[in-house]
């Protein structure tokens, strides 16, 4: 490999988080907010795992099956979801994710309590992950310019008006929900074949919340938003840990000379250690802060257009 193991795993998890954030973004394009994307990830992970472990099929087949099966389940869940919106839909997806968890916990075929073990390790996961991201980016940029993409946005803006305009609201919303589930399924399948082990707790409410965060913090009006959000939030704890390493470069003589130098150093050193709880506290604070200061997310369609314009403007000079 070109990268050392740590950097590689970091890149893989960032990539999987980006894909998961995309899976939130697609249904959101039609105004459907889902807290259950973790559930679809679970469906994809288990479906792909069954293919590769129980039937001995190659990884790409399992991956594809995981995605398609999750997409199928997504359409099944999406049908009843068509009738409801807003917080009702949020609760429905939450309930779905919980049901997936209970099934994973009780299904003996995939190990029930002991979790799904012995999933073959895929060493080229990183290429699959970024391959999928590139495919999705191409898909989104095409979608943006297509009538389907415009139909999705108009449903988000005003469902009744869209229907009056002759847009097939039912089909478009189902499509969006199904595609979101398919993308989540792919993310789950790749996740499972990288960790080689998943259990019922892997795809819990918290993961659903994190996926929502990636998309919402980055911004959900453009497909660059989920990428930014997922990268920022995944790399934040790592970045702070790097800062900690830089801190270690300060010689002891300097901190000794400064008043309270050592205390400040210790405090900073401890502060920059963003493990589990602290990371989640920081996520929570970021989420609250974002909703107060910039509820539309870091990147919006307008900022992206302005950036693109600026770049083009600079090139022509």
């Amino acid at each position: 490999m070109i990268f050392d193991e740590f950097v590689q795993s970091l890149l893989v998890f960032t990539g999987i988080n980006i894909i998961a954030a995309f899976s939130f973004y697609v249904p959101f394009k039609t105004g459907q907010v889902s807290l259950g994307q973790a559930g679809f990830m679970g469906v994809g992970a288990y479906a792909a795992g069954i293919m590769t472990v129980k039937f001995g099929l190659p990884y790409p087949v399992g991956l594809l099956f995981g995605g398609v099966f999750a997409g199928f389940i997504g359409v099944c869940v999406g049908f009843p979801a068509l009738r409801i919106r807003g917080i009702y839909l949020l609760l429905l997806t939450l309930g779905f994710a919980q049901i997936v968890q209970v099934i994973a916990l009780t299904w003996e075929y995939t190990g029930a309590h002991d979790g799904f073990q012995g999933i073959p390790y895929q060493e080229h996961t990183i290429f699959y992950v970024y391959g999928v991201i590139i495919l999705l980016l191409i898909f989104f940029s095409r979608l943006e310019r297509s009538s389907l993409g415009r139909a999705m946005v108009s449903i988000h803006e005003d469902e009744e008006a869209a229907e009056v305009m002759g847009i097939d609201v039912v089909r478009t919303k189902l499509f969006a929900f199904g595609v979101g589930a398919l993308i989540a399924g792919l993310a789950g399948a790749m996740f499972a074949h990288y960790l080689t082990y998943v259990d019922s707790r892997t795809f819990n409410i918290l993961l659903g919340v994190e996926i929502l965060m990636f998309a919402v913090v980055g911004g959900v009006t453009t497909y660059w938003g989920p990428i930014l959000g997922a990268c920022f939030l995944t790399l934040l704890p790592e970045g702070l840990r790097e800062l900690r390493d830089l801190l270690e470069l300060i010689p002891l003589a300097v901190t000794d000379a400064l008043p309270y130098g050592n205390n400040v150093y210790d405090w900073l050193y401890e502060f920059l250690n963003f493990e589990n709880e602290k990371r989640l506290i920081a996520y929570g604070l970021i989420l609250i802060g974002m909703m107060i200061v910039r509820p539309q997310g870091l990147l919006t369609r307008r900022t992206v257009q302005r950036l693109a314009f600026w770049r083009r403007g600079a090139a022509s000079v």
Partner: protein, 290 residues
């Protein structure tokens, strides 16, 4: 056996009902799903536990009242930090910021109290009564009676007091209430406090009943109480009470006869069935909106 399970279901239902009432009160005045409400409940349990641990032999009522005051303040803080400054122009922004508050509160609790289950010490002599073949302990009777008393007090408060009337007016329409001289902002904050009082008391009662407290109890109860609120109809206080008892019964009965792992499945199957077939709940929604 069946009657015994019904009693257990009643106990669990009482916890759910108290939390669900909080949800429904806040939903009524703000149309907001206050995701962090379960964490308020969890903090209530921990405050109660620490009062009991700090002064041995302390009266249990002191612990309950202390927890209620503590959670009232926490609820107020959440409303001031995570709800009030958030613009309502984006319909989901307040909900998402309370999800953020959930993350913060749960993990702050883990840092302060540790991530392990903690035992809730015995605060009263458990007397076991045998009535017509049923076993009921005095602890169970105490928690049930306390819950019912709290619900009755809340019911009186909402329907008989001036503040309660203001809350109902705000739930009807913010503009009209403001025109009629109700201080909407203050009423909303007050609603958060009342809801948090109930959650705090429920937390301590739950700690006494199950004799265990953990930082993760909040999310479980939050999700269950959400189902109760939906069952009863959004914004409907009596609905939330009845919904709580129904869900408590269903969970206990399904756990007793079908095994514990299927218990959660039942909860969510109920949730999904209600969402699909009767989103207004069993007793009708008291608020407009989607």
């Amino acid at each position: 056996m069946f009657a015994q399970q019904l009693i257990n279901g009643l106990m669990l239902g009482a916890s759910y009902a108290l939390v669900a009432i909080g949800y429904t009160l806040i939903f009524g005045v703000l149309r907001l799903l206050h995701f962090a409400h379960g964490e308020v409940f969890m903090f209530g349990a921990f405050i109660g536990l620490n009062i009991v641990l700090a002064w041995s032999g302390v009266n249990i009522y002191v612990a309950i009242i202390g927890a209620m005051i503590g959670t009232g303040l926490i609820g107020l803080l959440v409303a001031l930090i995570a709800v009030r400054p958030v613009s309502s122009k984006y319909p989901l922004a307040p909900l998402i910021s309370t999800i953020g508050a959930t993350l913060v509160m749960q993990n702050v609790a883990i840092r302060i109290f540790g991530g392990e289950n903690q035992a809730f010490p015995e605060t009263m002599d458990p007397v076991i009564y045998h009535i017509a073949g049923l076993t009921i302990s005095s602890v169970q009777i105490f928690t049930l009676v306390m819950s019912v008393v709290l619900m009755v007090v809340l019911w009186m408060f909402v329907n008989r007091s001036k503040m309660g009337r203001a809350m109902r007016a705000v739930a009807e329409s913010h503009e009209t209430a403001a025109l009629l001289g109700v201080n909407v902002g203050r009423t909303v904050l007050f609603t958060f406090m009342v809801a948090s009082f109930l959650a705090g008391a429920a937390g301590v009662l739950d700690g006494i009943r199950t004799s265990a407290v953990s930082p993760f109890m909040g999310l479980e109860v939050a999700v269950a109480a959400l189902v109760c609120m939906l069952l009863g109809g959004l914004g409907n206080i009596v609905g939330a009470m009845v919904g709580g008892f129904i869900l408590g019964m269903v969970e206990i009965l399904s756990a007793a006869y079908l095994g514990t792992s299927l218990r959660d499945l039942f909860t969510f199957v109920i949730l999904i069935l209600i969402l699909i077939y009767k989103p207004s709940g069993l007793f009708g929604t008291r608020v407009v909106g989607d």
